[in-house]
Symmetry: C2
Subunit: 620 residues, 2 copies
């Protein structure tokens, strides 16, 4: 585990429900620290604010046992109702004895519906391994004192004129000559002998392509010679425990070298966890993994490699390097085959990272002779505008609202999350669907966008974003901000009505304004009108669950005919796969990284005005 | 620490004297296990037999406190006197409470007089680093958003046409752009940028050459560009804790993978400890170390790399590989500069290892057009006979007697060890010298050889090795084996007379017979007479403290005029340095490894007869 704070005090048992995990915590540790003992990337408590008690998102409920008294921060952050029900903030409450705690699904950092398939990688793999049949192998004797490897070396030299081959260290360590007959097949990659098999049984070199995002990590297991994608897995980025958005993580990393190491270890552990899942679930050997490619946004890139982040965190937001990094699993701590190589896709600059590069690559934006807009929606949303091959990109801090964060009843896209909402007869009726068809316990991103879009269409929201207090489903108790009831208490899995609050609408306004202003500023810099856009490519996990009509209605996406849009899923991951399989594609990625012109929105004079304009809703 | 057995019981404090180390041990742990908590390579308890209670060498004295009752093994292994004085065997006595234990110097695995300088490495280094002056570096701004590395990359490309350079990962991590002015010097090794310095202050790439022996590890810190040897250090091989000779370590490794890992870790830790000493004591940065070369005998080679040893441990004694191994510090756990390379000199075969190869290389035996005998004396003694360039080698198990092991008053060459002995008037008087001029507490190898040689010259030993019981200094109490008193109680630092026993003489006979029979068998196989030997090169630490006259007198070395002998010190280490500095020398080492014909003495029919003959002393 990473980042486990070693409490000095004696240890007590803590049971975490509903995940049914038991672990030992030290008296005096915060629940958050104790919970870091959980496999954070499987289960755990999210701390968007980095455990500072600001976001009140790390809710836990004391079922029985002993915690430290309620702090002022908690009294401020929790509702009376919550306090009555025994809810606490994990970052504030300290372990005062053995206890049983319930982590509400909504604050659980859990496995979730991750779109990782992405679009098809159309690329011809240029990985080629040589296979040599070696015959006449004998058991060594006093009169024939030659080991298996010596015999293989001799044979390859004499029969195939292959010299100066290096045997992979792990192969040397693991190979038991007794297991082989007088014939073997020797598999050579470049100048390295990577496998020895019995003739007939073949060896398949594998590669792992990783899309390392701020919120999610997706990984793909690929057969290097055929290009076949065997499996894909996605987990939440364990770094979430140190802050939900890029900036709070960079700030955490800058506090101390130890913090920076925590974050690097978190990312490495997350990727290793994915690799284990991919390998074990499919009965491959880790030794088959010869190569990994990682595409990450610039901040994740720096935090993974442990690069200094000061320059990146502050204006003018300069990455340490925009060169491709080639290293080994051993060097950065990834569990791959022995001596396996790791290639990290170069960022284009600022906050336009390698994942943006591979998104452009996979969706072919760099090769289109038209006006194309590429949008990779996430906690950070990267946008590229390509006009006949000239590409200009920017990054917008759209924030984690689409992940359900900062939304009163928001949650990640796990079972029970409302993913679809439709308002009927002027919003008097609401139709909804949840992931897994379970009783609703909150909204995930697409559900919120649907709801807000509906509220706009029905005129329940006015241009400035206010809720019409006179609507039948709008509650506006005096002094309290208005809220729209989507699912009443009796229909849902909580003990309160599920609502959209005035504040939630504000969050969506901020998020969509970030993206909309980014788009309009890109268009301006290239003198293009929205109507001239031939194609809009919407990438990213959220982007592919999103209903375009709703996104257009809230003003997040340009108001264009639907047929001009394409939702391509995790294109960044697909591009990483292409880079993994083909050296040509690797060069292409490096070219894209060099060619993309990167615009820092924050430094544009028009930025504030555009953003303010984009905050408005265009009510019908 | 490696190999620390975690006892289950509660912990108690143990003080170790005279080294003044305190550590916690679990009740029920043997003292040996507890002592593994000591930095074994600095201080610790030697266990030649691997802690099986056979060698009775792991003496400790209970000063006060509680140990388990005396075991039968201890009663057998210890003298009445020793038991009265509270001596115990560390591998038998278990911790029964807090206690203070004294580790007698003689059983202390300590730093010792190690001859590591060796002969001069006459080789032209072909390491060349490029240095580029990069000017006009600016602090990045919004309008000039380029990091230090981006500016360097651009400059190197435009001014020097250098492209595709990789920045060393650690350099990326550690470099703070703020520390540099507008001019820097960029140091490039191959395609890797290894350093950025302020112009003027230069960067010196360092290398470490390691001679990994069964008993000792010697390491040399070298400036790669100039070839200057900055420093050398030697320590005992920490693997000694798992067995003193090669065979008991191989046996230990074969017992389980865990054991094998203990041994690999022990060697790695030992080398890392040496590197730290070399680097820290001379105020260099570990990052300067770009390359390491390791020369080891075949068993150490296998145990270090964690290769399977079954084939090597049993007839016909086949190494897994005799190819050179090129890897990285990261892969095998050596603490070097980030991404630094490690080259392991190939063994010639069987028990003729890479250290023998580099010994031949450094002493130039492969280039002599004459009859040359090369002897590298150690726990295993390797011998090469070169006849006009044709080299035949063998390895003899001369055993650890020269290290003082298996000798009643034997000890390692640490302060207080008798290193020189001369017998006057027919052995009635004895003149001696100790290392460090301290009161004698035992013999190191050269002292024992001197003493036995003297006994032979004075006719106190007869051909079959018996001591003349009538001699004034020979004690032959009835029933007890005879012993020759070298230093009476009142003159020495022990509470008993320091003696040479009949058994000691037997040990020396075995050791010298191993070497002498090896020499004569090599001569036979090439049809050479002893007298035809033009040159005898005596290498190894012990070999350079040895007095040739004594070695010839005991029949260990051929009876030739002294001017034909050369004592070259640690030639194996010197060869490792040459291999580190020059790729030409690397090729030369590989050629030697291929050319050397390796003879397995044990399988020769005449072996037993030759050995029996060699046991005799040639009395005058």
């Amino acid at each position: 585990m990473f980042g486990v704070e070693q409490g000095a005090g004696p240890k007590v048992v803590i049971d975490f429900e509903p995940i049914g995990k038991r672990l030992y915590a030290s008296l005096g540790q915060t629940v958050m620290q104790a919970a870091q003992g959980l496999e954070l990337f499987e289960h755990g408590i999210g701390a968007p604010c980095g455990g500072k008690g600001l976001c009140a998102r790390c809710l836990v409920r004391l079922v029985h046992g002993k915690l430290s008294p309620l702090t002022l921060t908690e009294e401020r952050g929790l509702t009376k109702e919550q306090i009555e029900h025994g809810y606490r903030l994990a970052c504030q409450a300290k372990v005062a004895g053995p206890c049983k705690l319930e982590i509400p699904v909504a604050s659980l950092v859990g496995r979730q519906q991750l779109k990782v398939e992405g679009c098809q990688a159309n690329v011809a793999p240029d990985w080629c391994l040589e296979r040599y049949l070696v015959t006449g192998i004998r058991t060594p004797t006093i009169h024939y004192p030659h080991s298996l490897w010596q015999q293989i070396e001799k044979f390859l030299k004499e029969e195939y004129n292959q010299t100066d081959l290096q045997v992979n260290m792990n192969l040397l360590r693991r190979t038991d000559p007794a297991h082989y007959g007088n014939k073997v097949c020797v598999v050579v990659s470049g100048k390295e002998i990577v496998a020895v098999t019995a003739p007939g049984s073949d060896y398949e070199p594998l590669g792992v392509a990783v899309d390392l995002g701020t919120t999610k990590i997706a990984a793909f297991l690929v057969k290097l010679e055929t290009g076949e994608v065997i499996a894909s897995e996605g987990i939440l980025n364990p770094q979430i425990a140190y802050g939900e958005d890029v900036m709070s993580r960079l700030a955490y990393a800058m506090e101390s070298e130890e913090n920076a190491n925590h974050l690097a270890a978190a990312a490495v552990n997350g990727i290793n966890q994915l690799i284990d899942m991919l390998i074990l679930h499919h009965n491959f050997g880790i030794e088959q993994v010869r190569q990994a490619v990682i595409a990450a946004n610039t901040a994740m890139h720096h935090l993974l490699l442990g690069l200094p982040v000061k320059q990146l965190a502050m204006s003018p937001y300069i990455p340490v390097t925009t060169a491709p990094v080639e290293t080994t699993g051993d060097t950065i701590g990834l569990r791959l085959g022995c001596q396996a190589k790791v290639y990290i896709v170069p960022p284009a600059g600022g906050f336009v990272g390698g994942d943006h590069v591979t998104m452009i690559q996979a969706s072919g934006i760099d090769r289109l002779n038209s006006v194309t807009l590429g949008i990779d929606i996430g906690t950070n949303t990267e946008i590229v505008l390509a006009v006949n091959g000239r590409m200009t990109s920017c990054s917008c801090a759209s924030g984690p609202a689409f992940e359900g964060a900062h939304i009163y009843h928001g949650m990640r896209a796990v079972n029970g999350a409302i993913s679809y909402v439709e308002l009927l007869n002027n919003g008097q009726e609401v139709v909804w669907q949840t992931i897994g068809g379970e009783k609703p316990i909150g909204f995930c991103g697409s559900g919120i966008i649907d709801a807000v879009a509906g509220l706009i269409r029905c005129g329940i929201i006015v241009a400035n974003g206010r809720l019409n207090p006179d609507h039948v489903r709008v509650r506006a108790e005096s002094g309290k901000p208005a809220e729209f009831v989507v699912v009443p208490k009796h229909d849902n899995g909580l003990d309160v009505d599920i609502v959209i609050t005035q504040k939630d609408i504000g969050e969506i306004q901020l998020a969509k304004a970030a993206i909309a202003s980014g788009i309009s500023l890109l268009l301006k810099t290239q003198g293009i009108n929205e109507a001239d856009i031939d194609k809009v490519i919407v990438a990213g996990a959220f982007g592919s669950f999103l209903r375009l009509e709703s996104a257009i209605a809230v003003g997040m996406l340009p108001n264009l005919p639907l047929e001009r849009f394409a939702q391509v899923g995790n294109a960044a991951g697909t591009g990483a796969i292409m880079t993994l399989l083909s050296s040509k594609e690797r060069c292409r990625a490096e070219t894209i990284a060099r060619k993309v012109e990167h615009i820092e929105l924050a430094v544009l004079p028009e930025f504030k005005r555009e953003f303010a304009k984009a905050l408005k809703f265009s009510v019908l």
